[in-house]
């Protein structure tokens, strides 16, 4: 299993039947394909729909129906569409159960930076700031390091997305929970040692006496 699939599968275990879930572009989008059996959730796309689904078949694209990246999608029976104020009312108003986003950096206080690299990349925050501020649960799905540089750091150098502490970080090496005491190592990936995770993390990790392996077959 490749690293991204592992991350997507582990994040999918966090979703509960009936949850309203928003998946960011890229790696987080892969979570939809790995829902455990019996877990039906509703996916929101912030451009204005609950009930997004893959395009049912090639040729069935609808020019009025796309995801937040502009790619064609489908809609499940029972889907609902709405304007952008309603869409962000759902996000900010406490109606969104889970958001899964990518990350550039996360610090010891669990604060996420994921929207710009000054001088290099200024894409804009899109919906990320509202999602992190407003979702009931924020899960960051990302690779543990970028070209060998740890993405989990003492203090974010990149501009923050929100000062809100995210709820869970899932990488190809570990599951880490930011708490008021610091970053707690909750799980390691199959075949990964606690020492490996620590070596690739740029922040202090709190390591409980027992750290289970992610409940995912390899």
């Amino acid at each position: 299993m490749d690293e991204k699939t592992l991350i997507a599968k582990r994040v999918a275990l966090e979703l509960r039947p009936g949850n309203l879930v928003n998946l960011g572009i890229g790696l987080p989008t892969m979570v939809a394909a790995h829902l455990p059996a019996g877990v039906n959730v509703f996916f929101q796309s912030e451009n204005g729909i609950i009930g997004m689904a893959p395009v049912p078949e090639p040729g069935a694209e609808n020019e009025d129906l796309s995801d937040a990246g502009g790619s064609p999608i489908g809609a499940v029976p029972g889907a609902a569409s709405f304007d952008s104020a309603m869409s962000f009312g759902l996000i900010r108003g406490g109606h969104l159960d889970v958001t899964v986003l990518g990350g550039l950096q996360i610090d010891e206080e669990g604060r996420l930076a994921n929207w710009m690299v000054p001088g290099k990349m200024v894409p804009g925050m899109g919906g990320a700031m509202d999602l992190v501020s407003g979702a009931k649960r924020v899960i960051v799905a990302m690779q543990h390091s970028a070209k060998g540089t740890p993405k989990i750091v003492k203090r974010c150098e990149l501009p923050l997305t929100s000062v809100r502490r995210v709820d869970l970080i899932v990488t190809e090496l570990a599951v880490i929970e930011p708490t008021d005491k610091g970053l707690v190592l909750r799980e390691v990936a199959p075949g990964v040692a606690v020492a490996d995770v620590m070596a690739q993390t740029g922040a202090e990790l709190i390591v409980p006496p027992v750290v289970p392996t992610m409940p995912i077959g390899t």
Partner: protein
């Protein structure tokens, strides 16, 4: 009384330097013929308020590529390298706004409010220069309302009075912007006789719409 006008006459009302709200999300729900006509009439110095600048050859991205835009207020420009290039080169001013905040600022403009209080952006660079207000233990930013000279709206279906219906994710910012501009120009895929669109299906009531142009078909 029909509000259908010739495309060229409608766009001719828009002067250089006008502030435009343009509906759409990555080009979906952006009025294609209105964009095309803005380009053909070679408008300059526009301020564009929109969710994003799409891609260089798509929707609002075409206005950016043609250097018709002086200032952009948007939530996302990451899919358009040309917008980023113009911003870094200082050719185009870009104000980045969190998407939910942008939606609310436009809504506030159309709904007669001076602004909104949102927790989004507190403690980030978005807070710079803004007033922080604490209410019942939560910190909010005061975000001011946005208004425009013209709103360019894409609708799925209109009647001749200007009642508008939208389709799926092509709705996005369109109904909000139709409230927030001095003059509202709507491009509809279909224009149907008055009475065909049931009252419960009307999202933008006709009184908000000043001019209609047809994207494709007209009936009756």
């Amino acid at each position: 009384m029909s509000k259908v006008r010739k495309l060229e006459d409608t766009v001719a009302m828009i002067p250089d330097g006008a502030v435009l709200m343009i509906g759409g999300f990555m080009g979906v729900g952006t009025p294609p013929h209105l964009i095309e006509e803005l380009l053909r009439q070679n408008k300059r110095g526009l301020t564009v308020i929109a969710n994003d600048t799409a891609r260089p050859a798509v929707g609002i991205g075409r206005l950016i590529a043609a250097k018709a835009v002086r200032k952009v207020i948007a939530s996302h420009i990451g899919t358009n390298p040309e917008t980023q290039r113009q911003m870094i080169a200082g050719e185009t001013e870009v104000e980045l706004v969190p998407q939910g905040t942008l939606a609310e600022r436009v809504r506030a403009g159309g709904f007669g409010l001076g602004g909104v209080l949102t927790p989004t952006g507190v403690g980030t660079v978005v807070e710079d220069g803004k007033q922080r207000i604490e209410l019942d233990g939560t910190v909010y930013l005061l975000e001011r309302a946005l208004k425009a000279d013209f709103a360019l709206i894409a609708a799925k279906r209109a009647d001749y009075l200007g009642n508008l219906e939208y389709a799926l994710t092509a709705r996005n910012f369109n109904p909000l912007m139709a409230m927030a501009a001095e003059t509202v120009i709507a491009e509809a895929e279909d224009i149907v006789p008055v009475g065909v669109i049931p009252p419960d299906s009307v999202v933008t009531p006709n009184v908000l719409v000043d001019c209609l142009v047809a994207k494709e078909h007209r009936h009756g």
